[in-house]
Assembly symmetry: C2
Homo-oligomer: 409 residues x 2
């Protein structure tokens, strides 16, 4: 319960999961970080020049001219079908045996995750996440009044031995297994690590053995600029006779722009149908989908992805170089092959929340590691994002952050 | 349970409300109606010429030029704030004492209703609706595994005496009261009737006495072209010391276009905050909201509403004239002061489902009355929409429909 009801006396009417979670986590320093006059190494925003402004305007014009009223009506126009086709083709290029019946367009990755939670989670259910994991996902789970357990990860991604141990312990204690496991297998948010092929196979073994679903959040999978691609969990799962346990989530937020709020889910048709039914609240952004369908249909997006990879690679290199040059020897960091993030680990006695103000004074923001656990773990860690800030600013930011850390050591 | 799982063997993992409802209602004749080569008197679509195509393109161009990357980034640009301001002003013009803290932008009216359901409904809860009511709302409720009871309405809207009787019976039987009551007080979908001021006050009395929330779906409230406006339930509720029980839902679907998927909720701040938190799945369509904010900010929309009312009045008049001219004496229909719909009642022995094919052959589609109950009531009724079809086509359609009805009598 919360004391934030401004005289509204009917909290007892809220659904039970709402009552259980309405006083939930707030991120105290959020506003300070967002408003800081410092290099923005905090949020996972794509860099502004990556947005195809002219192309989106041209696509809007073309849709209105060619499909006019139909694009603005309930149901939408045929251009929106092009977006489904692109998404299906794209899933197939990534190794999935996808058909259009297995695709659901969403309003972005988090919306897809929300739908999956609605489809599978009852109050009291158990879910498993990586520790640390995407704070936005933790906030989603918070709404469902479920027990969230985190399993550590290392340079090879989720520690499947630790997961197996936990699953066996639950079985021994006659406790229910998790309903679902949430993983970001490629260039994980916040650590940047990638789940190896072997571990993916073992994770699928465990899902079959302990009867749970896997949510594969692949927000960054297209942005690999080093090393060899690893097959999506959904692709590996499809090859198994006992498959069908993986729901793959994609997003256009990093490929086009977050503001268009568009993404997709790839799932077995039965699951896709239920996700779609849960989304029948009319929140399908039909007109925007027509515009995006028009945009992707001429191949522009496919041509853009390698350019995006090149730009993010340059950003990652600049950040890793700056860390190498400026950080004290006691700091360690991940070296991602793609995506947006580096995870920085400091000596145990350093608390990343405590030095945030100093870091901002020295010219850099970041997100404290605790935010990615939802408890006190990760206190000596921070997530650094190289996706957004201008290159020179980024380097100055790392320099300033290094000063703040040296002060604290 | 459904047999539609194409070999997907994990239905047991779905959340309980999903398992309970996954074999839920389908509307059999939907496709036949949608594809019919006949006057479209079925769906509640705005007429295509009402869409401000040029203005939306101009707003898109202006947003991209003036706010560029910010409008496409997470969080969105300041133009989206203009949409909140317009909505707040609009609520105040409608008699509500609204502040921006009481406004939540939604992806349309149904999305707002979905959020309200998530905020208040646990499996097994009871809700009350008008009988008949919007079929899309019935489909929403179906997802939540709740008991839906319908209370009849007449020319003055919801029969509050019948409601009171039912609430007292529940109390006598020591049964829980409903969690919420869903009403469309203005130009109700599907009947076109409007809830009187007196009944609104009595409904609020009953909500206080029996401790339930009211969802006021005001999708058509701005489209009044006859008679005097009645104060929104939310406005009347605000004047009461024991108020705070009404959530008012609005939509831009009828004022701008359905494809933009935008609407709003007006609710006490505590409720607004929980609706917003439940919607934190990133489904806020930030870029589209910036475009709409730009569009509404120069007063174009306010100037357009009277024009829309005039156009819909002309459509209603044409339909009522055609009904008067062509229908057999045994048919009766409502005479709405606004909105999109006429409710047609035929002799008891006529089944509107049975004569649909004949009506299509004679040149008209409609929606059978059963669809608005979710059971076998309303079999001898149909909803006619005058919002979409061209005027001459509409008249021909009514003429053909009258032939089909005369045949069946």
């Amino acid at each position: 319960m919360t004391d934030d009801h401004h005289g509204w006396p009917y909290d007892h009417l809220f659904a039970r999961p709402v009552q259980e979670s309405m006083g939930g986590a707030e991120y105290g320093a959020w506003r300070a970080i967002a408003n800081a006059d410092a290099a923005a190494l905090s949020f996972g925003f794509p860099f502004p020049d990556s947005f195809p402004r002219d192309e989106l305007l041209a696509a809007t014009e073309a849709v209105l001219e060619e499909e006019g009223a139909k694009a603005l009506q309930y149901g939408g126009s045929e251009s929106a079908d092009r977006l489904v086709e692109w998404t299906t083709d794209h899933a197939r290029e990534r190794g999935m045996d996808a058909t259009e019946d297995e695709i659901l367009l969403t309003n972005g990755g988090s919306h897809g995750l929300d739908l999956v939670c609605r489809a599978f989670l009852d109050p009291g259910d158990r879910i498993v996440v990586e520790g640390p994991t995407f704070m936005g996902a933790l906030r989603q789970f918070d709404k469902f009044d479920v027990a969230v357990e985190s399993i550590p990860l290392d340079d090879d991604g989720l520690d499947v031995d630790a997961l197996e141990g936990r699953l066996e312990a639950l079985e021994d204690e006659d406790e229910d297994p998790p309903k679902l496991l949430y993983t970001i297998p490629n260039f994980q948010n916040p650590t940047g690590v990638t789940l190896t092929r072997d571990r993916r196979e073992r994770l699928l073994d465990l899902a079959a053995e302990h009867d749970f679903m896997i949510v594969e959040d692949d927000a960054y999978g297209d942005l690999r600029y080093d090393g060899e691609p690893v097959a999506p969990l959904r692709a590996l799962d499809e090859e198994r006779p006992e498959g069908g346990r993986v729901i793959h989530l994609g997003t256009f937020s990093k490929l086009i722009a977050p503001g268009v709020r568009a993404g997709w889910a790839v799932a077995d048709e039965t699951v896709r149908d239920q996700l779609r039914r849960l989304n029948s609240g009319g929140s399908n952004t039909t007109f925007m989908r027509s515009v995006l369908g028009k945009y992707v249909d001429d191949g522009t997006l496919d041509a853009t992805i390698p350019e995006l990879c090149q730009a993010y690679e340059q950003r990652r290199d600049r950040m890793l170089d700056a860390l190498e040059e400026h950080m004290p020897p006691a700091a360690e960091w991940s070296e991602p092959d793609g995506g947006f993030f580096v995870w920085l680990e400091l000596p145990e006695q350093i608390d990343a929340d405590d030095i945030l103000d100093d870091a901002i004074d020295e010219g850099a923001t970041y997100l404290p590691g605790r935010w990615f656990y939802g408890d006190d773990r990760g206190a000596n860690c921070m997530r650094l994002s190289y996706s957004y800030e201008e290159l020179d600013e980024m380097e100055h930011g790392i320099e300033g952050l290094s000063r703040a850390i040296r002060e604290a050591i």
